[in-house]
């Protein structure tokens, strides 16, 4: 299927499908986008195909239509749906914001802001990533802080100050109380919120050059398998129980890899996108090694990739 391209008057940094309640045997048709590098940035909600109508192959023929949008202060550095109605964004101003989406998708409004969640003593600093496992949220930033929030509480639940001396680029939940972060000196750090101390439970890194890591994603079914991508475009699959070497290393891209995602319902498929302008689709053969590769070239540099879970 050929990708459909539509020009909108802003650069998009992140795009995410809206989750569908599992009861409905439907594919998601609504997605959110966040813009960057504008004087006035915004978070927008779009729909593909008419509501509830797509052709029999599940493919969409129409251009996405804008449903609603909201102003966003600062670049959208990351975007995650907390649940069907709430969207969390990480901003370059250092704030973490929750947006509420009306059930009929007619309006998007700011519900809550944690201003200066990430900051230096006299400057703001970008919040680089945010991850949700309702009702908890974790955000990380260029200031090296890891912050834990609960969606309905105004006060921050916990802050790990100085978690990292370099920028933390991405974060993912491993278990309910454990997160994994990746930073710009090529380390993966595991944090256990049950522990009182502010030091990581485990640190992993590739022996060799300290290449910054930009993205991380956990295998949907196996909590100890994660995939990372970094500045050199290498895709690494790690088993966090087993020490310092990833069990799979692939030279995926020729430039920074911005996002990596396991397919939520079909985890033998992996997607990566990169500054070199390509979006790649990977598939594992039976076993744990990655083998074949299908390439889908895109015109401009994609910053973001997100797949919709297909219903069985």
């Amino acid at each position: 299927m050929d990708p459909i391209a539509k020009y909108i008057s802003q650069k998009i940094s992140k795009t995410r499908w809206r989750p569908i309640s599992p009861a409905l045997l439907q594919q998601p048709e609504v997605f959110a986008t966040g813009s960057w590098d504008n004087e006035n940035n915004s978070v927008s909600i779009w729909s593909v195909g008419e509501h509830g109508v797509s052709n029999t192959d599940g493919e969409f023929d129409e251009e996405p239509q804008l449903l609603c949008a909201s102003q966003h202060d600062g670049d959208v550095m990351d975007l995650q749906f907390l649940d069907q109605d709430r969207l969390v964004s990480a901003s370059s101003s250092g704030a973490v914001m929750i947006f509420k989406l009306q059930p009929d998708c007619q309006a998007l409004s700011l519900a809550h802001v944690w201003e200066r969640a990430h900051r230096y003593s006299c400057d703001n600093t970008p919040c680089t990533a945010v991850v949700c496992r309702s009702p908890e949220l974790v955000s990380v930033g260029e200031d090296g802080r890891v912050t834990l929030y609960k969606a309905d509480q105004t006060e921050v639940v916990r802050v790990i100050e100085n978690a990292d001396s370099s920028t933390i680029h991405a974060v993912t939940f491993l278990r309910t109380t454990e997160v994994l972060t990746v930073n710009s000196i090529g380390q993966l750090k595991m944090w256990d919120f049950r522990q009182q101390s502010d030091s990581p439970a485990q640190i992993l890194s590739l022996t060799g050059d300290r290449v910054p890591l930009h993205c991380v994603d956990k295998h949907p079914n196996q909590q100890h398998i994660v995939a990372t991508g970094g500045q050199d475009g290498m895709l690494c699959i790690w088993d966090v129980r087993q020490g310092n070497t990833p069990f799979s290393l692939i030279e995926a891209h020729s430039a920074e890899m911005w996002e990596v995602h396991f397919h939520p319902s079909n985890p033998s498929h992996l997607f990566t996108c990169s500054e070199d302008g390509s979006l790649l689709h990977w598939e594992t053969t039976s076993g744990s090694d990655m083998s074949t590769l299908l390439q889908i070239p895109v015109a401009a540099q994609p910053d973001t990739v997100c797949q919709q879970p297909r219903c069985a």
């Binding site: 990292d164 000196i185 050059d209």
Partner: protein
Amino acid sequence: MEEVDVEPSTTLIPSAGFHRKHLGFEWGPGDLLVYETNYKLQGSPFVHIVRRDEDICSPILRKLFNESHLIFVGLQKIKEDIPSKNKKSQFVSISKNYRSVIRACMEELQQNAGKRSHDTHHVSILLAIELIWNLCEVLFIDTAPAGSLLLHLLDWVRLHKSDVDARAREVLQSDSPAQHQSYWDVPTGTQTLTEFEVKWRHWHEECDRCLQENTFASNRHLETICKILVGDEDTLLEQKELLSTWYHFLVTRLLFTHPTIKPPDLHYYAQSSMNMFLGPRASPEPLDIILLSAFEFDLHQVIKDCSIALNNWWFVAHLTDLLDHCKLLQSHNLHFGSNLREFLVLEYASGLFTHHSLWQLAVDYFDHCPEFGRVYLELQIERVPLDTERKAIKVLRICEDRQMSEQVRSICKIMAKRALRNNRLGSALSWSIRAKDAAFATLISERFLQDYSNKGSFTDLDLLDNLGPAMLLSDRLTFLGKYREFHRLYGEKRFSEAARLLLSLMTAKIAPRSLWMTLLTDALPLLEQKEVIFSVDQTYELMSCLEELNSGTKDSNLTDQDEDIESTKTELLRLALARNLTMAIVKEGTIET
């Protein structure tokens, strides 16, 4: 200095000039800074930013810039070795692509009309642009063989005056279908030019004869039609309202008097049509002059007039680039540098670069300016504001792809300094690694060591313990890594390894002289262990290090108190070393029984 072509337009700066009498200004890359002054030391607190090009801020026009960028890049990739016939069809299709992008933009602006007053203004400009572009495509790019020029011109006029033409056509075609039928058959190539010319002459003479014989005298309507068919200028001029523009008049006139017009003869009719249509009192508008220059095949005049009339370089840059690819521009060098095409593309791209978001497009334009593009890019890319690391990474990737190593170093240094200022030593180090900046890595190491001597312990152990090969970037960094390792070994009670490492730091000259005293002081607890850790040889080496340290010139800045402390330290060390030496000698001399 050259003469001014047109009177410059005035821009009013609100609230300027109320308190002060004079305005000063300074050119910026895209904007103008204006300040008020009375030439006294106390200036006005206000600085006004005057934006040169407001079009760039329109969200809908932004799509025009984005889509045309794609077309531009595609055009540059057309290979030189394709036969010219294929190239021409490609150029024509590219020209049509550009025009369809303009039209799409125009339609969207019209849909939004009323929401912003700028939009209606933009719509009329885009209309004019598309008109000019279309004419240029017809005359210059899609150069039709003689005979079908008029057909293309008819299409051109029709496209832009569709509703008027519908009515005119109704009037014209209502009574002479047969004649019109054969008429339109002409330029499809079924007949040669001369054949057609002969047939047309016959037809024209017949029409004329009808008129002379007053065949249609009874019906004024039919008579008018016949006069039009003959090409009677006065009758045509009477239909001014239907025709609405002089170029429509021109094409209509040619249709009925010289359907086989050849390009070189076009300009005479164009000039006279314009004069006839506008009349003696009306003066031509800029658009009219531009179209006239096009009819006269004076490309340079067209480009020049468009540059003056429009406040954005988009149109002239893209059109000139396309015409240049068609090899239609004489390559004469302008006296301010590159050729015309490159000059215009550079101007356009420089304007894009000042936009907070469209700067990424400008990079591709600079890439395709062979003479000055790289220099322009080098100068501009360093001035992109870097608010987030992610943006900095994208800018760096642009520089690295083009081997602009100086810019890479400079940008990494900016980011590293910023990180250092905010105490993000790991980030600072990661930027230094990317730029392979040994000097900065040394700076960071110094900072670590300073923190260590201030606090007594290392900060950011996660970084220091995991330096990896990055350690080799600078000597100071290597020392730092190894020094931390020494501390770690000591903490793990691996004393002999720690001792060996510590000694090697001094003997291999990895440690800077200034820190030797600290290192020797670190050796003290090892020397005072019950067990002998340093061997005889090692002790001798330590002693020689100590003496070497003391033999250097005394630091005259030291106060008396400091000097006391220093000499006490030295005494203690000498004592400890001596004791260790005796124990080591005994130990090594003892035969194990």
